[in-house]
């Protein structure tokens, strides 16, 4: 167990160190997220035309596109120069490779959300004061589910020649229920002033658990250098 934690830590620190050197992913992904929110904000006429917290859907669009780019970039690091074969030859549980990649993706996605969300708040005039904790918790839980399945699919897509838009095509339909649930929850909380229902949060948590467990189990089978 201690060995697995040590290996997990090594893998995550390696990812973050590479990202801190190259800054290839975080820069691109953040700019894309801000652009999506800005373009939609300007196009929709910002707060005046967007009903209440329907604008969380706009944030989700930014998270989805930023996420897809983020997952592709972080997995590409393992495909360049065949380093994935080096990892697969090491005596470590392949599920650890998935968990570490998920952790790296989550760290990057949270960093992106920390920049993109305030931009959205400014553009759409969100008032988070009613339930800021609920907003953060629901968005964080939703991003965990999104990153869980996105990390798996990025590994699948990276092993094919059909990259580019394929990841988005595979990923978006699957995360749709998660996006709808979290957006509806935000609507009820902020537009209708109702407290977040345990049932809806439970659905998001269930998605997280299912996506993460299934991805962890099948990750080994999608990895072939």
């Amino acid at each position: 167990m201690t060995r697995a934690i040590s290996q997990f830590s090594l893998l995550v620190r390696k990812d973050l160190r590479i990202e801190s050197r190259s800054r290839q992913t975080i820069g691109l992904v953040t700019v894309l997220g801000v652009l999506v929110v800005s373009v939609l904000g300007l196009g929709l006429g910002a707060a005046s035309n967007v009903a209440g917290f329907s604008a969380t859907a706009v944030l989700w669009v930014a998270y989805l596109f930023s996420g897809v780019l983020c997952f592709e970039k972080t997995m590409a690091v393992e495909r360049n120069d065949g380093v994935l074969a080096g990892l697969l030859m090491a005596p470590l549980d392949r599920g650890l490779i998935y968990l570490s990649k998920l952790a790296s993706n989550l760290i990057l996605m949270i960093a992106v959300a920390a920049v993109v969300t305030p931009v959205g708040i400014l553009f759409f005039g969100f008032d988070l004061s009613a339930a800021p904790g609920t907003f953060v918790a629901v968005m964080a839980l939703s991003i965990i589910g999104f990153a869980s399945i996105g990390t798996l699919f990025s590994a699948v897509v990276s092993s094919t020649r059909l990259q580019g838009g394929l990841l988005a095509m595979m990923l978006f339909p699957i995360v749709l229920p998660l996006v709808i649930t979290s957006t509806q929850l935000m609507l009820h909380t902020f537009r209708d002033g109702q407290p977040a229902s345990g049932g809806a949060v439970g659905v998001i948590v269930a998605f997280d658990v299912i996506f993460m467990t299934v991805s962890w189990i099948v990750f080994e089978w999608v990895l072939e250098p």
Binding site: Q7, I18, G86, P91
Partner: protein, 250 residues
């Protein structure tokens, strides 16, 4: 031109039979996308052997190496590595294998020592920094330890790649086109490095395109043709023309 029927070195053969078996493959086959890449491969490799796998493109060399590295599973047949079923205990087996690829298997944005420390950590080696420095010293890269791999020449990168593969002191080294793209001095350095590995009692399986170079280096040649073994002989029994004929034969 044909191989000699009788063994001219009976004492060598006797010694070979008492040496532990590293690879034992029986009826090994691999099908990819309904295409048979390997078929009925029977192979025994003993500790300390220096072997080359030759063949034209698509003959199945890299697939065979991937099977021996446990990076892919056979469609048919049995594969034993170090006396164990390769598919049942892959993690324990992988600890004893070092893979050198024509790709570097290194992170270009990390420095040489960061790459080696990372892999040393994954293998759970004691004192990973010390072990990484030992490897850098052995492959004349200590003065470039803190430089990113992306700043290295092809020769330096390949030396580091070999250092990475040998970091955990493996018993079986699998090398896929390690000389590709190297200049003469780098190639010579690598040849000597492989010779030292074999002298230390390790087993080396090499995939190489340069037949003349291969014959100069290895003790035994396996020629793959159409996914099956067409020739498996010690090099002292072979002539260059014979191998060329086997490799090129359709």
């Amino acid at each position: 031109m044909t191989a000699l029927a009788a063994n001219p070195f009976p004492t060598i053969q006797a010694a070979e039979e008492t040496t532990p078996l590293v690879v034992g493959a029986r009826g090994l086959g691999k099908t990819v996308d309904r295409r048979i890449v390997l078929h009925d491969v029977n192979l025994r490799i003993r500790a300390g052997e220096y072997i080359a796998i030759l063949g034209t493109n698509g003959a199945g060399k890299t697939t065979l190496l991937k099977l021996l590295a446990t990076l892919t599973t056979p469609t048919t047949g049995q594969l034993q590595l170090f006396g164990n079923d390769a598919m049942r205990t892959p993690s324990a087996i992988r600890r004893r294998i070092g893979l050198i690829d024509h790709q570097l298997l290194l992170y270009r944005d990390l420095s040489a020592i960061e790459n080696l420390e990372f892999y040393a950590g994954l293998y759970g080696l004691d004192e990973p920094t010390k072990r990484a420095e030992e490897m850098l010293h052995r492959f004349n890269l200590l003065d470039r330890a803190d430089d990113p791999v992306k700043s290295f020449s092809r020769g330096m990168s390949q030396r580091l790649a070999i250092g990475r593969a040998l970091l955990h002191d493996p018993d079986l080294i699998l090398a896929d086109e390690p000389f590709a793209g190297l200049d003469a001095p780098s190639s010579e350095f690598l040849e000597n490095a492989f010779q030292q590995i074999v002298t230390a009692g390790k087993t080396v399986v090499l995939v190489n395109h340069d037949i003349e170079q291969t014959l100069r280096l290895v003790d035994r040649v396996i020629v793959l043709r159409g996914g099956t073994i067409a020739l498996d002989q010690p090099t002292h029994r072979l002539y260059l023309e014979e191998i060329l004929a086997e490799v090129k034969a359709l």
